[in-house]
Amino acid sequence: MASNLTADEEAGWFVSQKEQPWWQWLLRRFIASGPIPRHVAFVMDGNRRFAKNKNLGSVIKGHEKGFVQLAKILDWCSRFGIREITVYAFSIENFKRSEDEVGGLMRLAEEKFQKLLNDSEKLDEKRICFRFYGNRTLLSARLQKLMSDIEGRTEKFEGGRLNVCMPYTSRDEISRSFETIRTHVKEGKLNVEDINESMIDACLDSGCGGTPPDLFIRTSGEHRLSDFMMWQAADTHVYFDSVLWPEFGYYNLCKAILNYQYYRSTVSKMSSLNVSEETTWKMNFRGNDRDLISVKS
C-alpha cells in the first residue's frame, strides 16, 4: 500500500478526536438548532476524477483519498448526531472496470477491514455497528470472512451504525428479497396475500435493523441514483453536490443538512401520501436462520 501516510491516513476509520475549529463549532451549533437527519446515504462519486485532476498517478490513489475523506465525514456526522450512515462503496456494475482497478479496490477494502478489526480499542470506544449490504458471494472468501467478523464483532453496538454497500445494486437487493419471500411461501411460512411493502422492507439487506434514509447525497455533479437504494430512497430528500467526493468538506455537509432542514416538512408531506399498511413485518435473525414475523398495526 501507499508509503508516507499522513496522520489522517494512519488513523484509519476513526479520525482522531481534536477540537473542532471555531467556525465549524459555530456552524454546527447553528445548524443543530434545527432538525438533523437521522440517516444519511452517500454515493461517494468522483474519486477517479479527483486522482486525474490532482495528477495522483493512479485511480487507486483517488480511492485512498476518498477513504480518508469518508473517515472525516463519519466523524463530522457523528458530531452532528447523525446516527446511521450508508455508503455506496462498490457497485456490482463496477466489476466491469479494469482488472487493475477492481483488484486495487479489493486490496484496499481488505486492508481497511483488517485495520478496523485490529483497532479493537477504538471499536469498543466508538461502539459503531457495521453492516455490509450487497451480494457477498461475488467477493473473495477472505473479504467475506472479514465482513462477517466485523459484523459479528460490532453486532451489539449501539453508538451508531455504518452500512457499507459492497458489492451492491438495488435491483439485486430487491430481487434477493423477492427470493427470500418466495422461499418462505414455498415452505408454507407465509401466505401470498400477506405480501406487502413492509414485508419487502424487512427482507431487504437494510431490513436487519436499518431505517430508511432521510437524506440521500450524491457528489461529483452526477444527477442519478446509479442503482443505489432505489426502494429505500423512493420518498427521500435527494441532494446533489457538484464537488468530488474527496473534496466534500464540512461546508458541503452543512449545506446539505441546511437544504434538508429547508425542505423537510414538504418532503414529509409527500411521503405521508403513502397508504399505511395493516400488517408490518420484521426479520428475526437467529444464527443463519431468518424468520419473518408479523406485527399487526
Binding site: 457497485s91 456490482i92 456494475e93 463496477n94 466489476f95 466491469k96 472496470r97 445494486t169 438495488s170 435491483r171 439485486d172 430487491i174 430481487s175 423477492f178 427470493e179 419471500i181 418466495r182 411461501v185 401470498v192 396475500e193 405480501i195 406487502n196 411493502e197 419487502i200 452526477e222 444527477h223 442519478r224 441514483l225 446509479s226 442503482d227 432505489m230 426502494w231 430512497a233 423512493a234 420518498d235 427521500t236 430528500h237 435527494v238 441532494y239 446533489f240 437544504n259 425542505y263 414538504t266 418532503v267 409527500m270 411521503s271 401520501l273 403513502n274
Partner: protein, 243 residues
Amino acid sequence: MLDVAGICVAAVRAVYWLVMLVCNFLGYSPLWAQIAMKNRKMENVKIRIPAHLAVCFTESRLIDLTEVIQIMDSCVAAGIRQLSLYDPFGELVSQIGQIEQACRLFTRADLFCDGKRLHSSGLTNLQVNVLSRKMGKSALVEACKMKFFSKRHTAHKSILCFQLCREEDEITVDRVSKTLEDKFHLSDPDFLLQVGNVPTLCGYPPWNLRITEFLQTPRLPCSRRALDCCVEAFSQRDIRVGK
C-alpha cells in the same frame, strides 16, 4: 457648435466600457459573450434525444392539463418516443378522460393509465403513460405476488404445469423487469424531469430509475423551446454504467 450626436455616442461608449470593466472585475461575462460561449460549447456536444422521458410532479399546483397536452405535442415534435407522467397527487388520473380525448383528436399517441391501455392510434409517434402513486412500490409488491398467483388463476392443466415449473425458477432481476414491463407497462426512463422545487422523487416507480438522469425544473417545459433546453442538458450528461 457642440456635436450633440458625437457626445451621445461617446457617452454610450463610456458607459459600455464601464460596464465591461465592472463585469470583468466581478468575473461575469456580458450576455453576448455567454451566448457565444454556449454556442461554442454546444458545437462540440452531440444532441441526444431521450427515447423515454419521464416527468415527476413534486408540487400539485404545477399540474395543468393544458401544459400536459402541450408537452405531449412537443415530445412528438422533438422525436421522443415515450412519455411517462407521474403524478403522486392523483390529479392527472382524475382528468384522464380529457387526456384521452386530446390523444384521439390532436396528438397521435397511445395512452396508458397505470399500465392499462386506454387508447391506441394506428400510426403512433408517442406512447404516453400516466402514472399515479399506485405504480410506485405497490407495483413491485404486485409483481412479487404475480410470481405465485399464476398458480391460482389458471384452470388448464398444461398451462398450470408450465407455470408451476416457472415458480421453481429463481427470481432474477431480468424477470422482475419483464413482469413490470408486461403487466404495468413500466420501463426505464432515460431522463426524468422533477417539476417543482421539492427535491424528492415522490415515490416514482423505484425499480425503473436505475440509470435515469434527473433534472430539476421549476415549471413543466411544455413549449418546444423549453423542452429543447432540457434535451440539451441531457445531451451534456456523461453516462457511464459502472465503468
